[in-house]
């Protein structure tokens, strides 16, 4: 049976009059599955994710979480709901407070919802560091004292800390070398299997998206131009824009 955990219905958004950044977007995320999103730079992917996790309001349309409309949640209800959906932001530096150390930054969300001793928090931080393959020598560093890819792993660890039901990944592995990237992708897939985690995975690398996703949508200037299933991706492609993405990729021939 198809079990939809998150649904977007007719989402529309503009920042300036008559310039729709998102134009009537519809999508469904199945529980325990991954939906990949690819699309042109500036096509509205990050804006869509911010709307899905309630950080930004759409002009019209609905977001349903387990069939319940969450579009207008406020106050305590919104705070409790936030725990269900975690987002990993495209820009990892501005996602962290500059004066909070790495270990504190990733345990901060847990502290907001539970009571733990400092010792418990620190062991939780160590566990999370190991999980995303971050060297423990970085526990006491500030975010700007880490490399781009290390900070990105810190953001992944923070999002996983709360054990959300839905994880929204916005270019969450694009600053990683391909070996560590593959480890992180495997980690996400393992957590998905263990906890039935649902994931939306926005990324420019179509091959990587295919490796982690069950279904893929392609976006171009505020529209969804194609819905694909990863199983037979290449043979399904109809849309001209998607074809151009396939052709433009620097594929490795060896």
């Amino acid at each position: 049976m198809y079990n939809c955990i998150l649904e977007a219905k007719n989402i529309t958004k503009s920042y300036i009059k008559n310039k729709k950044i998102l134009d009537n977007i519809n999508l469904k995320l199945e529980k325990g599955k991954t939906l990949g999103i690819v699309g042109e730079s500036g096509s509205g992917k990050s804006t869509l994710l911010r709307i899905l996790c309630g950080l930004e309001k759409s002009d019209s349309g609905q977001i349903l979480f387990k069939k319940q409309d969450i579009t207008s949640l406020k106050g305590e209800n919104l705070r409790i709901h936030r725990k269900n959906i975690q987002m990993i932001f495209q820009d990892s530096l501005s996602a962290f407070h500059p004066r909070i150390k790495a270990w504190q930054a990733i345990t901060e969300p847990i502290r907001n919802y539970n009571h733990f001793s400092k010792y418990e928090l620190k062991s939780k931080a160590i566990e999370l560091f190991n999980c995303v393959n971050l060297p423990l020598e970085l526990l006491e560093n500030y975010p700007n004292q880490m490399s781009g890819g290390q900070r990105q792993r810190l953001a992944i660890a923070r999002a996983l800390a709360l054990e959300p039901q839905i994880l929204l990944c916005d270019e969450a592995t694009s600053a990683l070398d391909v070996r560590i990237q593959a480890q992180i992708i495997k980690l996400l897939a393992d957590i998905q299997r263990q906890r039935n985690l649902s994931i939306i995975f926005v990324c420019h690398d179509l091959a990587l998206v295919k490796s982690i996703s069950h279904n893929i949508i392609v976006m171009n200037s505020g529209h969804v131009v194609e819905y694909l299933s990863s199983d037979n991706l290449i043979t399904q492609v109809n849309d001209e824009y998607t074809k151009s993405l396939l052709n433009a990729s620097f594929f490795i021939n060896y």
């Binding site: 042109e40 530096l93 420019h204 179509l206």
Partner: protein, 259 residues
């Protein structure tokens, strides 16, 4: 063109670069790939003299056109940065001033490094942005950084760095936030700069296919050291274990699925 000799750089007690040497000829394109945290960005920061407070150059020398870069004063740097050596940062979004429009920052950058009038600077900035496959350049110039997408910010950083046709271009993950089409176009623009103005390029990328396509030589880094280097189109013949592991991890449309 640039000669880095036995460079060792620490952040507090941590050694980020160990005895790193690299010599790049004029008009060469060199790519650095390697592990996250291996010291790639540190190499570029050291060349451009923009290491953070808590760092220390323990030993080494850097020569750029036979000038010793580690011995220059502020005034020398003012003349060198932008015109002779330019950099594309790993996270352009954070290098831009959040409370000023792209237009005012771009114009100021141009005026700081040339004698152009404000109007000429505006025209030049438009011309540069158009090369970046950006739609609606007028709007972009009026925008604040937070109003732009990740890939739009990245392309502004590339446009700025290319403005003065520098002799040496340092590029830190210049296309990591770009879709395949835009990436292909930016790669062509970088190659055009290199062909027409003989710009030497030192580029960091996690995209091995882009490195293999663009670079004359590729260095592979791990733990602060160069552990392997290969010539153009020889990447996939490397015998190094880590390099082979990297190659096997490249996502592939016909490759491994995790779900």
């Amino acid at each position: 063109m640039i000669d880095i000799k036995n460079l060792t750089v620490n952040y507090e007690k941590k050694t980020a670069l160990k005895n790193f040497s690299l010599s790049i000829k004029e008009n060469e394109i060199v790519a650095i790939v390697g592990e996250s945290g291996s010291g790639k960005t540190t190499v570029l920061r050291t060349i451009l003299n923009i290491l953070p407070q808590n760092s220390q150059i323990i030993s080494g020398k850097i020569y750029f056109q036979n000038k010793s870069l580690l011995d220059l004063n502020l005034n020398d740097w003012q003349n060198l940065r932008g015109n002779e050596i330019a950099i594309i940062f790993q996270d352009t979004g954070n290098m831009l001033n959040p409370v000023r429009t792209i237009g005012s920052q771009f114009i100021e950058y141009i005026k700081a490094h040339s004698k152009l009038s404000k109007k000429e600077a505006l025209n030049l900035s438009k011309q540069m942005l158009k090369k970046m496959n950006l739609q609606n350049v007028e709007n972009i110039l009026k925008s604040y950084p937070f109003e732009l997408s990740g890939g739009q910010c990245q392309r502004i950083g590339i446009a700025m760095a290319m403005t003065f046709k520098p002799k040496l271009l340092l590029a830190d993950e210049p296309t990591s936030a770009l879709d395949a089409n835009t990436q292909a176009q930016i790669v062509q623009e970088l190659l055009k700069l290199h062909d027409e103005y003989k710009t030497t390029i030192l580029m960091i990328t996690h995209n091995l296919a882009v490195a293999n396509y663009m670079a004359d030589r590729i260095l592979i880094m791990k733990d602060g050291e160069i552990i392997d280097f290969v010539d153009k189109n020889k990447l996939f013949n490397s015998k190094n274990e880590y390099t082979k592991e990297l190659i096997n991890s490249i996502p592939n449309l016909k490759g491994k699925r995790y779900v």
